[in-house]
Symmetry: C2
């Protein structure tokens, strides 16, 4: 199967961040050519007036909470936890599957091609992601046996999930130690061992709230990242979500350990965690920082275009400096940096020959994205675009959504 | 002409903030019935799965800058002013008209039915608004003769505009003293006189940046609102944009003078003005606070749905309190409070019998707005909706946009 996308404005996200008018040829699951490729293909898409861009990478979400959207708005953080934990505890695997399928549909329709998830019943999420055709890194939540509402032992559930779902094309199982507030040192050691044994990484919440930091200081005498370093937990390739309430010292430890950060600005602001993740500082220190929506109970959207704009606004606002982060840097976070964080920079994040064909087409022929040309395409994507402007989403060479509908069915 | 909108989820924004399943009947330019109205009409719209809501009111914009979108991203505030003032100075009336028409199209397509604009060449904006069928309050910018790039005297231009455009159905000309940084006491006095003579109000920028505050303190020895009060300028019914860098004393003065505020969170964050307008405090003091996108050079979007979400996020974040403002209160700002600010609470802002038929239909049958029911419709509108989900916009009983296209032509 080959797809030729003709005459688009291609935001390549290659090393030189080239934006060019031209064609993109997909053969099988790979990008086979870019620029003036011409030729024939099984399917030809006219992208006149459209932006052709790499699929967006959502680096932290709980996708199966899509059908819990709006259950805990505008309440204190404690009340939010009470409501969402209560809801989580009472869901059947079927409900998790249903929520995940809805969330995957929302992502496919709004230009996200790859996501990193943290939840329990990730086998249900894996089934939904496969059905939707999305690329998914799935972290089964691991926490202390006496703190979980999962059936059985979380670490054993996670181990079984990894056994059953390894070796797939689009699904990568990883280990999901929930966070220091739910994991003892022993649980973290077992999570790390499981990840090592399976050649995979860990994905966890980290320093999202002040409460989490101070509770751990009471329990272990150290701040979260300091403690994780002390017990030898931090691992190259790990991805930590949030990382809002961290010291400069902790930030350096994170970067030097090779741990990436999934920044979740909308969730942080909506839950009013108060702090702001030090994104420019982490990037300047050489850290990899991607972008995540978090789950629908705290956002309440999986639209990565909206997330990009909020990311830029929050950084500019908090530093009193409109130049602290550029549209290009924010787009990088949602594409190339996300790919690096997942260890997939050779396969994902940019439109280049030989990379996986995760491609999104955005309709830029609307008043709200005009003027549109090569020099402001990135600005339009970050500051003026909604996920609802996505008109085609391709994952691994297959069209998964088109013109507001999912491929192969009429939902959406 | 009558329109019957059937079987929608109606977010009335009436006194009791009722959300109900039912029908809405429009006869001529008015809402003729709501709830179980049944009957016949010239046009019947099936709103099954849709939210029916009052048209959004954008309380501060420079609509004709739509075609200057993206010209000054990610630069210092001074550089931003240099770029945009330079661009403003060199535009022909035709370019202003073209920009305004584009901006009106963007607003019509994204659910804004009424806006308050501040710029020069407002006659061009008026023509564009009439052509698009939007309701517009248009403030011709008035500033000191030696500070303007307008041809002729700004106050005389404004007076002529008011003479020529008074008495229209959808267009209301008002006076637009640009801001204390561009207006002497004498200019402000003449602006006030012009407004009084014509039974209209003033719309102005106020305390957007610290620079503006400190420059005025140097020039006049007082902070902006204190000074405006000292010289007797503040007028009942005026609308001040931004009002970010104000003291508690100034805030009370504003509220007691009957001046409303147009809060512009996206613009404030993107330009990194640093402060946050004291929205909950102003509302608690009895002030009227609406919501504005500001112009496309500083936002870069006229989508009021995005603005609502950003408004909520910024207030929650800055107060470290997720409960400080609710989705309902934010929706109020964009509807009922905007109508009050414009002195139009008897005509606009809610869906009630006898009010003007400014009505928006939102497609809620998408994964990104599910689950959808009467109890979470407001949450979905504020936290999960994009202007691109709007499928029909009605102003004064006439359909101005439908299914992504403007009425009467194929643009959009």
């Amino acid at each position: 199967m080959s797809i030729l996308i003709r005459n688009g404005t291609i935001v390549t996200q290659d090393e030189n961040r080239r934006v060019m008018k031209g064609d993109l040829l997909i053969e099988g699951d790979e990008i086979a050519g870019i620029g003036d490729v011409g030729g024939l293909a099984d399917e030809v898409i006219d992208a006149t007036g459209m932006i052709v861009m790499p699929g967006l990478i959502n680096l932290h979400t709980h996708v199966s909470m899509a059908n819990l959207r709006g259950i805990a708005d505008d309440v204190s953080f404690d009340k939010f936890l009470e409501i969402t934990y209560g809801a989580d505890a009472n869901r059947s695997p079927e409900e998790v599957f249903k929520g995940a399928l809805q969330g995957c549909a929302e992502m496919a329709l709004t230009g996200t091609t790859c996501f990193l998830d943290l939840y329990y019943s990730e086998d249900m999420v894996a089934k939904a992601a496969e059905q939707a055709g999305l690329r998914a890194f799935l972290a089964w939540a691991v926490l202390d046996d006496d703190k979980t509402t999962q059936k059985g032992s979380p670490i054993e559930n996670c181990a079984r999930f990894i056994r059953e779902w390894s070796g797939r094309e689009l699904i990568t199982p990883v280990v999901g130690p929930q966070g220091v507030y739910a994991c003892s040192g022993e649980t973290l050691a077992r999570a790390r061992e499981l990840a090592k044994d399976n050649g995979t990484v860990c994905h966890y919440h980290l320093s999202e709230t002040r409460g989490e930091v101070y509770d751990l200081m009471k329990r272990e005498g150290s701040r979260p990242i300091d403690w994780l370093q002390e017990i030898g937990f931090l691992g190259e390739g790990d991805i930590a979500a949030h990382s809002v309430w961290i010291t400069k010292h902790e930030m350096i430890a994170l970067v030097e350990s090779g741990v990436s950060v999934a920044h979740c600005p909308t969730s942080n602001m909506k839950l009013a965690v108060g702090g702001v993740a030090p994104v420019p500082e982490m990037r300047q220190a050489g850290g990899k920082v991607g972008l995540g929506t978090d789950g629908c109970a705290s956002n309440n959207s999986l639209d990565m275009f909206s997330e990009m704009k909020t990311c830029s606004l929050l950084q500019k606002h908090s530093k009193w400096d409109p130049a602290i982060i550029s549209a290009q840097e924010v787009l990088d976070m949602a594409t190339t940096e996300g790919a690096k964080a997942l260890g997939m920079e050779a396969q994902l994040g940019s439109l280049e020959k030989g990379k996986k064909a995760d491609v999104v087409l955005v309709d830029a022929r609307i008043p709200g994205m005009s003027p549109m040309n090569a020099s402001n395409a990135v600005s339009n994507l970050v500051y003026s675009c909604s996920g609802r402007n996505v008109c085609c989403t391709i994952v691994n060479g297959k069209i998964v959504a088109r013109n507001g509908a999912l491929a192969g069915n009429s939902t959406g």
